[in-house]
């Protein structure tokens, strides 16, 4: 699906997929989540799948508010449990294109167990994880992706725990599609999401978007954040994922981004439907 047509959707097309009556949104000025929301909408328009057949599922947190603004079927469920909801729905309605859109805390911390098992089963869902490195909605506590040394609400003397390298974690379990971009890489995010729609299995995208308020990137503005991403990002599709963890967040940090894994896959749901056909024939 890389015959990327460079025809950008019109404002009206984008608006037709927004719940305009819900604006303004809850995100802070300079927050990157809205960029990814727009990228999702653009990918949806490019997917060729009618909006009625797309579904968004989210958990709790800033990123998880995103489905509330998109005019398609959306389910804003409980903290950490977007993945099992999406899996149940996708299993009974395989014709729907089910995408989970949530934050790092929701997906990799409280929901970590569901994340790893959905990858192991190879559930046919798309998971877009906004990594803001913190719990923004509750005021900036540390989570599973918070870099060491960070001063947060709950690590006032500096964070001393380890940090998840989520693309490595996801790839190591065998996810057939793994990508990471920063919010600077808008075009690549759109292309990636379009590709994710075509994966029969677990497709994962991490989007780096440090919380502008509660991380060590604070007191900056969106422009300087984007400048940082331009100067400190390395596109490397063949990167050794063991080396791409973000353990510090400062002027030295290198953000290794790219489409790391893209391989043929058959999902749990496809295998299960084949099993059902066989059993119903008396096999």
């Amino acid at each position: 699906m890389s015959e990327a047509k460079l025809i950008r959707p019109s404002i009206d097309e984008i608006k037709s997929l927004l719940r305009v009556e819900r604006l303004p949104h809850i995100w802070c000025p300079s927050c990157g989540i809205g960029i990814v929301a727009k990228a999702y909408v653009e990918a949806l328009l490019r997917s060729g799948i009618p909006p009625e057949k797309h579904v968004l599922v989210s958990g709790i947190g800033c990123s998880s508010r995103m489905p509330g603004y998109i005019k398609i079927d959306g389910y804003h469920v409980i903290h950490g449990r977007a993945i099992p909801f999406a899996v149940g729905l996708k299993t009974v309605r395989p014709e729907l294109e089910v995408t989970v859109f949530a934050g790092d805390g929701d997906l990799s911390t409280i929901g970590g167990n569901h994340l790893i098992h959905a990858i192991r089963r190879n559930d046919d869902i798309n998971v877009i994880m906004i990594n803001n490195f913190t719990y923004g909605m509750t005021g900036g506590q540390y989570g599973g992706t918070t870099p060491e040394g960070s001063r947060t609400l709950t690590s006032p003397y500096g964070h001393i725990e380890g940090t998840f390298n989520v693309p490595l974690l996801v790839a190591s379990i065998g996810a057939p599609y793994v990508a990471r971009w920063t919010v600077l890489h808008y075009r690549q995010i759109v292309d990636t999401i379009v590709e994710m729609f075509n994966i029969d299995g677990f497709a994962f995208l991490e989007v780096i978007s440090p919380c502008i308020i509660y991380t060590d990137m604070n007191r900056r503005d969106a422009i300087s954040l984007m400048r940082m991403f331009r100067e400190q990002s390395d596109i490397d599709h063949k990167a050794d994922l063991r080396n791409i963890g973000i353990n510090r967040l400062n002027e030295e940090t290198r953000f290794v981004v790219g489409k790391f894994v893209h391989r043929p896959s058959e999902s749990y749901q496809t295998k299960y439907r084949r099993l059902v056909e066989k059993v119903m024939k008396g096999g």
Partner: protein, 382 residues
Amino acid sequence: MNNGVLKPGDYFLRGNYACVEGALLAGCRFFAGYPITPSNEISAMMARRMPQVGGSFIQFEDEIASIVGVIGAANGGVKSMTATSGPGFSLMQEAIGLAFMIETPIVIVDVQRGGPSTGLPTQVGQGDFIQTNFGSHGDYETVVYLPNSPQEMFDMTIEAFNTAWRYRVPVIVLADQMIGQMIEKVSVPPYDEIEIVEYEKPDVPPEEFLPFDFRYEVPPFVAAGDGYRIHLTGLAHDERGYPTTNHEIYSKMLLRKLRKIWDNEDRIMEWEEQLTEDANLIVVSYGITSRSVYKAVRDAREKGMKVGIYRLKTAWPFPYKRLREMANEGKDILVVEVNMGQAYRVAKQYVPHDSIYCMPWAPGKVPTPEAILKKIEEVYRA
């Protein structure tokens, strides 16, 4: 026509298997669960039966995923259920609140074992009675059935699906280890005698549709992919399903959701009564314990004591009206259950006098008819 569900006739079935067959007959086509004793026969049979009827089965990584998966599948418009026991049921509490909040019809079977904590995994208990309606935070309602035989495991599972889809609420079949694992005759009636409730799509176009329309007692259910482009959230929401902190709107919304059950309690609550007319003492029980009570009350009658039976068939809504009526007539009440007095505590609210007795009983064993008879003799006033 064999579409894979049980044909009408008489069978000799384990309670947990009867539950599975009832669910399939009711149209359940998605099951998710996590291994836990003593409900394992349900997931094992579901794993075998679901593909035979064209449905789906997933063994999830825990009970939280199981119930949330069931809520997801139900929002796909497919009748869905999970089964568990005490510890797993505890893990499901937050999601029960979600199902109530977004008005998703789901069925949960809780085959109770002895608690608290890991308790007595292979032995009987009835300690989840209160939890089935109060385990999640906030004000919500569930409907809870109390089978006392494999036949009722079958019948009440079908009824649970009907109630869930009629009122769009989480419904629980609260069984226990003995009812789940005992084997008895189960009759499957002719299909046309079995009531099955299905959802009907709304009659308004998507642009006029409100998922939580105040004009309805139970707003029409809409599944993902039906074309209505709905947004559902566990946050307090308005008629459109959008988050709101407006107190007036949320009061109205929460009350409407609760009134689905409150205003229909007479239609939902069920009980069984025997020998109550001339009785001075009414023995209240449910589930496996009622089987001992039948015998104990017969023995008491033989000894000349005027004792009657009031068996709860729903825990919630609690069948309080008839109980209150009998108590008002001056009848004494004895509550027998495999816990330290959970239904007793509820029943007490509806009894205007002090002659209501409890028989605290630790899980692991069902009180024998002899033990119950002894208690009857102790509290009985001629």
